[in-house]
């Protein structure tokens, strides 16, 4: 596979953003983006989990599932890997840094059902990436997701909802803002190197 790792990474962040182009990870994105501070926390957590689980799932898929002809179980296995990893991370953080643990609070369990994390693993399999490419893709997607949630939080903190019609407040407004952001990100595809 000759795709440069750098191009893959940049494309995962910008032109094929996991949230703005592939619509993954919307639930926690919409509910947590009210404040920039919590968004940073969740974004970093998602980035970390995404990168690590992509690497783990790669290993599990190619060293366990494929040789044993159990590919059709990949959904169950991936989800279990993700859930186990998140649980492990939670325990490690709780033991070594209670401060961090309390500030992250409910985010960690929330990440398990974040469709973006499972989605990245599934995409990696479909597109036949090598290990390095998978890690780059996972990291890039994580950063892309974090970028999107930070942007939305930043905008929402400044929006004065008094001027918005009642029916449009809350989730609908977030969706419109996200749509405009997605439009903006499409502009990145004009950079010839990436896409």
């Amino acid at each position: 596979m000759e795709i440069s790792v750098f191009i893959l990474f940049m494309a995962a962040v910008f032109t094929s953003n996991i949230l703005l182009t592939n619509f993954l990870g919307m639930c926690s994105y919409l509910s947590v983006s009210k404040q920039v501070e919590s968004s940073i926390g969740l974004g970093l957590a998602v980035f970390f989990v995404m990168t690590c689980t992509t690497a783990l799932n790669y290993a599990v898929y190619y060293f366990i599932l494929v040789p044993l002809d159990l590919i059709y179980l990949q959904y169950i296995i991936f989800i279990i890997v993700i859930a186990a990893f998140v649980q492990l991370t939670e325990m490690v953080i709780e033991r070594f840094s209670p401060v961090l643990y309390y500030s992250l609070g409910i985010f960690l369990p929330l990440i398990t059902v974040n469709c973006a994390i499972l989605g990245v693993s599934l995409f990696m399999i479909i597109r036949n990436y090598t290990f390095i490419q998978s890690v780059a893709f996972g990291a890039g997607s994580g950063i892309g997701w974090m970028l999107a949630i930070l942007a939305l939080a930043g905008i929402r903190e400044r929006v004065n909802e008094k001027f918005i019609p009642i029916g449009l407040r809350g989730a609908a407004l977030s969706l419109i803002i996200t749509g405009i952001m997605a439009l903006g990100f499409i502009g990145f595809s004009g950079i010839a190197v990436i896409q």
């Binding site: 169950i76 990436y129 499409i186």
Partner: protein
């Protein structure tokens, strides 16, 4: 003295036991489903390729299996597998599978050439994973049809087509690219060029 009755469901062992049992049941059901349908899926995939070969040759397809057996023979030379199409026992063309990397993954395609290996008579994509709405448009008919009737060799050299914007008119050596999908368009041109170089060099002597 009262004997405390401890239910199995209250022991610490129960969750683990429950998990194991339910996992075994689920996996068992899934395995059954999978093996029941596996043959069907494989059959389908083989038929798809056959159908696509026929279509790239622009042969009429009524029943994939029969028409495939009627017209197509699979041959190998120098490690290259290719399809030979015969009508009324006369060879009318050759079709080569090719693959290479697109922006997002491997692109697999079929290119049909005429008997003298001088012109492209058909081009189709088997598999691609490009960005939906952008790069994925390489599967659209207008893009693929541009390659039909294009000569392969000009001035004794294999042509590497150059990309021009979608609105401009294309000359012999040019292909209209997909707006906003430069990389995917370029990937197609590169895959075509690289594979054709290999094919022509190996078949030069026939």
């Amino acid at each position: 003295m009262e004997k405390q009755k401890i239910y199995f469901s209250e022991t610490k062992f129960y969750p683990v036991f429950f998990m194991m049992v339910i996992t075994i049941i689920c996996v068992g059901i899934l395995a059954t489903f999978y093996h029941l349908t596996n043959k069907r899926v494989e059959n389908y995939q083989a038929t798809q390729i056959q159908k696509q070969v026929l279509e790239t040759f622009e042969l009429p397809v009524m029943s994939v299996k029969e028409d495939y057996e009627k017209y197509i023979t699979v041959r190998t030379r120098d490690n290259i597998n290719f399809y030979e199409a015969k009508r009324d026992n006369i060879v009318i063309g050759y079709c080569f599978p090719m693959q290479g990397s697109g922006l997002w993954g491997t692109i697999r395609a079929l290119v049909a050439l005429d008997v003298e290996l001088s012109q492209i008579t058909g081009f189709s994509i088997i598999e691609q994973n490009e960005t939906p709405g952008l790069g994925a448009r390489i599967t659209e008919a207008w893009f693929l049809n541009q390659f039909k009737k294009k000569p392969i060799i000009l001035n004794d050299e294999i042509i590497k087509y150059s990309l021009i914007p979608e609105e401009e008119k294309a000359g012999i050596k040019e292909i209209q690219q997909i707006t906003g999908a430069t990389a995917s368009s370029r990937a197609i041109v590169n895959i075509l060029y690289n594979n054709l170089v290999e094919i022509i060099n190996k078949f030069k002597n026939s």
